[in-house]
Symmetry: C2
Subunit: 223 residues, 2 copies
């Protein structure tokens, strides 16, 4: 226990820890898009000085979670509808690629893991447990992307997902959407289990595009 804390402190410098913490606070909703991030306040909050805070904010800027305007400071990024649409389109091909790569390399254990996740989601859908479904959905996506074996892809994908969390209407997902999403997952997993890269790309790509469509229809005048 004491070792872990030590290791964490050792492996990660202050700005890196800060970056994770500020990211957590932003994505957790404590700040809203457009909000100003006061450097002194953040420094005070974590009991450190402004230097490391600024470094952390620079990293967050590069990953698209905050914007900087000179002499005015850092602000939580505000994602317009068209920007969110752009993010979705990029995310679609990245996820398609993840599906394709995974179909080429998945092991028997991997297939088992996928089927287990699907079974859990089946249960969540039947129980109409939306909260659980969202959690499992994220786990499924994360597993696919991580198991694809391409770290560049995984990193980019997760960055985009974080950016999309800034787009508030995100959680407007209803029962029918959950059902549709689940069906698409089944097609994805089948293609992977069949080790069919082309079909996997198609299924994964379409899944994200469909998710974008569901979001679009939930809001008005997207794009």
């Amino acid at each position: 226990m004491t070792l872990t804390a030590f290791e964490i402190l050792r492996s990660s410098s202050l700005p890196i820890l800060l970056e994770q913490e500020i990211e957590r606070v932003i994505l957790g909703g404590q700040f809203s898009p457009g909000d100003h991030l006061n450097e002194k306040e953040l420094a005070l909050r974590f009991g450190i000085s402004r230097g490391p805070v600024r470094e952390a904010l620079r990293s967050l800027e590069a990953s698209g979670l905050v914007d900087q305007v000179p002499n005015r400071g850092f602000f939580v990024r505000r994602l317009s509808a068209s920007e969110a649409s752009n993010v979705y389109d990029v995310r679609s091909v990245l996820f398609g690629l993840a599906g394709k790569l995974l179909a080429e390399r998945i092991t028997g254990d991997g297939i088992e893991r996928l089927k287990q996740l699907m079974a859990d989601m089946d249960a969540a859908v039947l129980a109409d447990d939306f909260r659980l479904y969202v959690k499992l959905n994220f786990a499924l996506h994360e597993f696919i992307v991580a198991a694809s074996g391409n770290e560049v892809l995984a990193h980019q994908y997760l960055t985009l997902v974080k950016q999309l969390k800034l787009y508030r209407t995100h959680s407007l997902m209803l029962g029918e959407a959950m059902h549709a999403s689940h069906c698409e997952h089944q097609v994805m997993v089948d293609a992977i289990a069949a080790r069919d890269p082309a079909a996997a790309f198609e299924a994964h790509f379409k899944h994200v595009e469909a998710a974008k469509g569901r979001l679009t229809s939930a809001t008005t005048n997207l794009v």
Copy 2:
């Protein structure tokens, strides 16, 4: 003229300018992958203090050009063969998406621009002017990605291209490779001009995959 300088100074803070400058120096080859970046030295070089230098390095870290190891500093990123391969794979789908999007929205003027670039490259190939070809090649890629209208895509794509510049064997391209590349470009441009999104995706995707293949065959034991 005076206005532009004013505007630049106004819109860009020191760390942002520094980031561009350090990036230029790294990609220009003044530093090699694995090289240590001395903060004091960099600060001295630009006549400023270490604070802004560290902020700039944090940004470069997030864009994958430098790595940081705690208490040891920043180093120019060293891209392994398998990492380069991963970058290529992601770049392939991004470029495919760019081609698809451009095919959906290109204007008559845009098609003219593409044909002009192709004509120039024709001349470069005939003259066996490798240097000119590389330059036009980059211009073509940049135009396609920028004209796709998806800024997220453009940003990610350019980031990956920069990362690949860290992979030295990059410039091992010979006469035959130039010819093959040129033929692939023709297929791409035809698909865009025909406003055929699916064909454009395919052509653009395969072009980058082929480029990866040419690089692979030039080196030994890639991946």
